[in-house]
Each structure stands twice: as structure tokens, then as C-alpha cells.
């Protein structure tokens, strides 16, 4: 496919890897924030191709993984209400909440439907006027504008039985929270590509300026990631941290202004609870008062018992980058994609899933060649 195949050229990849080996001198620690990048890196064995000077950490950029149990429990409680349809992107279905999962509720007779798009949820609402359809608003700045647009479309189309449970989260505030915790020291950040397609590259300026962290926005093909790593190495070797875009075909410094405007028309910032990280001020999105009639949390009375965490699961530590799945007693033995204990094993872009499928350091299975 165009704009994909060209960035998988293995000969160019090999030469880029050689170049990174030539240029990398200082030991550096880089984090790929986004789960999509984690998948690219593992699938193509990029960690093993890089010189020993470069350490790569996986970050918390998996929306399903960072959804706190308390929020999942609300979605599960909504699915148990009569005449309520819960519409969700597929990867939420199997994620265990404190006491159950959407999949279990569906098996018990709850109406939970997998949708590809919020537009599908609106169509379900239009075809089922006697039901209330709740779209689970999961996702970062990439997804939030699409859910916001769906609210505006429902509003304009007079769809009165469409609601959103907003669990959206914003990336720059949580990156700041991670760094401020002092647990993780980073030299460079592989900035998320499709979040940045919406927000642009400027929201990362504070990272270079105040924290001295090199930032490069990357695309999702193997050559994109290698280019990004090479640019990060160049910045760090030169001692000049800055914000650059490697993924220039998809990302502008100013982002997509129309998408941002749509998002901020419908949503406003709020505090959000991140799995493993906790409450982060200004890192969530809730519906503005003008759109409260679409807000599932305001419209439906749901009560959930206090959340609890699965015993032994260290997803929280993994999401903060302080542990890896290899540190987890449950990994592989108890927790696997068939029987996931924590969300990082459920989501295809979760760190545990990537370690499970592609192994660590190439020791388990052969990766797809670049």
C-alpha cells in the first residue's frame, strides 16, 4: 500500500541501522510513548538491531491499558442496565475490570456491541430508538476528536438516545507526570505519531526546554522509527535537545486545527485517573456543560463498588516504564492473550502482549524482517 510499503525497505533499513551504530556514542535511554510504536519495534526486532548504547523503554501510550479499573467498572455497570447498549472498540471487551469484564456481562445477556467507529454507534442509536446507546470514549487525542465529532453529528441530526462515557486522556500531561515522579530518567522521547497528527509537535516543546529531553515525532513503519531514533541520537550527541518531526507526511507543527477545535468544542479538561500512575491533573476530557445531555455519567445513575486490582499484576509498573513484563510472576505462566490478567496483555499494543508475541531481545521468536 502506498505510504506504507516504501517505509519498509529492508536495504535502506540496514543502512540506517549502520548509521545509528556509527553515530551513537553516549549511552542513552529512549522511551517510545505509544503502544503502536512498541508493536513496530517488537515486530521488526528493532531493539536488537540498535547498538548497546541505546536502551529503549515502552511507555504508557496504550489507551486501553491506562484505563483505570474504576472507569472500566462504570462501563461494565452501564452494560448491565436494561435497555442500554454499550458500543465499544473491540479491544475493551476482554479487559478485566475489578469484578467482571464487558465480555462477561455480554455473556450474561448485556447488550455490548463492538463498533469500528463512533458513527456505527450513532447508526445503532438511530435503528433502536427505544434503547439508549452509550459509546465508550476511550483513546487519546487521536480518537477524542472523532468522538467529539460524533456528538456534534448526533446533536445536529437530532439523535436523542446517543451518549458518550468519556474516559479520554491527554498525552503531554501524563508525560510530564511521569518525569516529575522522578522514577524514570529519559534522554529522548519517540513522540506518538497519530496523537501528534492532531495536536502537532508544539505541545512537546516544554520537554526539550524544561527537561532537556530530545523529542522526535515518529511514524509507524520500521524506517520511520529508525529515522526517529537516528534523529534523537543526533540531538543527544550534539547536546541540543529539541522537538523535531520525522513523520512529516502526517504531522504538522500546528497539528490539525479543525480536529482540535472539534475536540475543544465538545470537551474540556479534567483530572483523570491513569492505571499505575494515578490522578493526573488536566489529563482527561469531560463533556462540556452544553453537551451534558450526551454525557452518560450525568444521565445514568450508576453505582460501582470500590475498585480493586488483580493480585500480582504489575501492569501499573510496566506502564510507568519502571518494570518490564519479564519482572512479572504472572507473565506467560498465568497471564497470556487467551487468559489475560491485566490490560497490557489484552490490548494488541500492550507491552505484555508485544513481549508475549514477539519475545524480548529476539530470544523467543523470529521477528518479521524489516
Amino acid at each position: 500500500m502506498r505510504f506504507i510499503d516504501e517505509y519498509r525497505n529492508s536495504e535502506l533499513g540496514e543502512r540506517l541501522v549502520d548509521r545509528i551504530h556509527r553515530r551513537s556514542r553516549k549511552p542513552v535511554r529512549l522511551m517510545e510513548f505509544c503502544g503502536g510504536h512498541t508493536v513496530t519495534i517488537f515486530k521488526h526486532g528493532i531493539r536488537q538491531l540498535l547498538p548497546p548504547t541505546i536502551e529503549m523503554l515502552s511507555g504508557p501510550g496504550c489507551p486501553v491499558c491506562v484505563t483505570a479499573n474504576g472507569d472500566l467498572d462504570k462501563a461494565i455497570a452501564l452494560a448491565r442496565l436494561p435497555d442500554v447498549v454499550v458500543a465499544t472498540f473491540g479491544d475493551m471487551l476482554k479487559v478485566p475490570g475489578s469484578y467482571s469484564s464487558l465480555q462477561e456481562v455480554r455473556a450474561e445477556g448485556g447488550d455490548v456491541r463492538i463498533v469500528y467507529s463512533a458513527l456505527d454507534a450513532i447508526h445503532i442509536a438511530q435503528r433502536n430508538p427505544d434503547k439508549a446507546v452509550v459509546m465508550l470514549g476511550i483513546g487519546f487525542e487521536t480518537t477524542a476528536p472523532t468522538i467529539a465529532a460524533s456528538v456534534l453529528e448526533a446533536s445536529r441530526g437530532g439523535v436523542g438516545n446517543y451518549y458518550v462515557l468519556s474516559m479520554h486522556k491527554l498525552c503531554p500531561p501524563v508525560i510530564k507526570a511521569l518525569l516529575d515522579s522522578g522514577e524514570v530518567r529519559l534522554d529522548g522521547l519517540v513522540c506518538p505519531g497519530h496523537v501528534s497528527a492532531v495536536i502537532g509537535s508544539r505541545p512537546y516543546d516544554f520537554l526539550a526546554r524544561d527537561y532537556g529531553i530530545a523529542c522526535v515525532v515518529s511514524g509507524f513503519e520500521p524506517l520511520d522509527v529508525l529515522q526517529c531514533v537516528d534523529m534523537l541520537v543526533a540531538q543527544i550527541e550534539a547536546g541540543k535537545p529539541a522537538v523535531e518531526i520525522a513523520y512529516r507526511r502526517g504531522v504538522k507543527p500546528e497539528g490539525n486545527e479543525r480536529a482540535l477545535e472539534t475536540m475543544w468544542t465538545v470537551f474540556e479538561r479534567c483530572e483523570a485517573n491513569w492505571r499505575g500512575i494515578g490522578e493526573v491533573p488536566g489529563s482527561g476530557l469531560r463533556l462540556r456543560e452544553e453537551y451534558q445531555r450526551f454525557d452518560a455519567e450525568s444521565v445514568f445513575e450508576i453505582e460501582v463498588p470500590p475498585p480493586r486490582e488483580a493480585e500480582g499484576c504489575i501492569c501499573g509498573d510496566i506502564l510507568r516504564g519502571v518494570k518490564t513484563p519479564l519482572d512479572c510472576k504472572l507473565f506467560r505462566r498465568v497471564c497470556n492473550p487467551e487468559h489475560p490478567v491485566g490490560p497490557c496483555m489484552v490490548s494488541s499494543e500492550g507491552t505484555c502482549s508485544a513481549y508475549y508475541l514477539y519475545g524480548d531481545n529476539g530470544s523467543v521468536r523470529a521477528q518479521e524482517p524489516i
Binding site: 500500500m1 502506498r2 505510504f3 506504507i4 516504501e6 536495504e11 535502506l12 543502512r15 540506517l16 548509521r19 505509544c34 503502544g35 503502536g36 501510550g61 496504550c62 489507551p63 486501553v64 472498540f89 479491544d91 469500528y116 467507529s117 463512533a118 458513527l119 456505527d120 476511550i138 483513546g139 487519546f140 487521536t142 480518537t143 476528536p145 472523532t146 465529532a149 456534534l152 453529528e153 506518538p192 505519531g193 497519530h194 496523537v195 497528527a197 492532531v198 509507524f220 524506517l223 529515522q227 537516528d230 534523529m231 543526533a234 523535531e244 520525522a246 512529516r248 507526511r249 502526517g250 504531522v251 504538522k252 490539525n256 479543525r258 480536529a259 472539534t262 490490548s347 499494543e349
Partner: protein, 77 residues
């Protein structure tokens, strides 16, 4: 979750468009990129185009990748 794929816009009707990716064609919303035209490529995410792909930048990046791989030191051309 933040997966977005390049899709070719075939036709536009108000705020929806028909796009093609691989062998698949689909109706999508172009609410977030209302100015797209047939022939443009968009980044498609959950039924919405979240941005337009800049073909000139795509070509430029490939050129820079070639140059970098053959020894040039800079990404800025």
C-alpha cells in the same frame, strides 16, 4: 488504538467521503478534514480522517532516507 492508515479519497459528498485502502472501500466522515478532495490521501482512524497526508513531505522524507542511508549527516537536507 491510535492506529491510522493511509486511505485514498475517491469521492466526497458533504462531510462524508468514499475512500479506498488496499482492496477495501469505505464510507468515512471527513468532519475533521472538510477540505479534502478526490485524489488526496488521508490518515483514517476509526471511520474519520484525522489528517491529510502531505505527498510532497512524503517524497522529501524518502529522499532524505536515501541520502541518510548513503552517508549524509543531516535530516534537514
Amino acid at each position: 488504538m491510535c492506529l491510522a492508515i493511509p486511505a485514498l479519497v475517491k469521492s466526497v459528498d458533504g462531510l462524508s467521503a468514499e475512500v479506498e485502502f488496499g482492496e477495501v472501500s469505505r464510507q468515512i466522515s471527513i468532519w475533521l478534514t472538510p477540505d479534502v478532495k478526490p485524489g488526496d490521501y488521508v490518515l483514517l482512524h476509526t471511520g474519520y480522517s484525522i489528517n491529510v497526508i502531505d505527498e510532497d513531505e512524503a517524497k522529501e522524507t524518502l529522499k532524505l532516507l536515501e541520502e541518510a542511508a548513503s552517508g549524509s549527516d543531516s535530516w534537514t537536507g
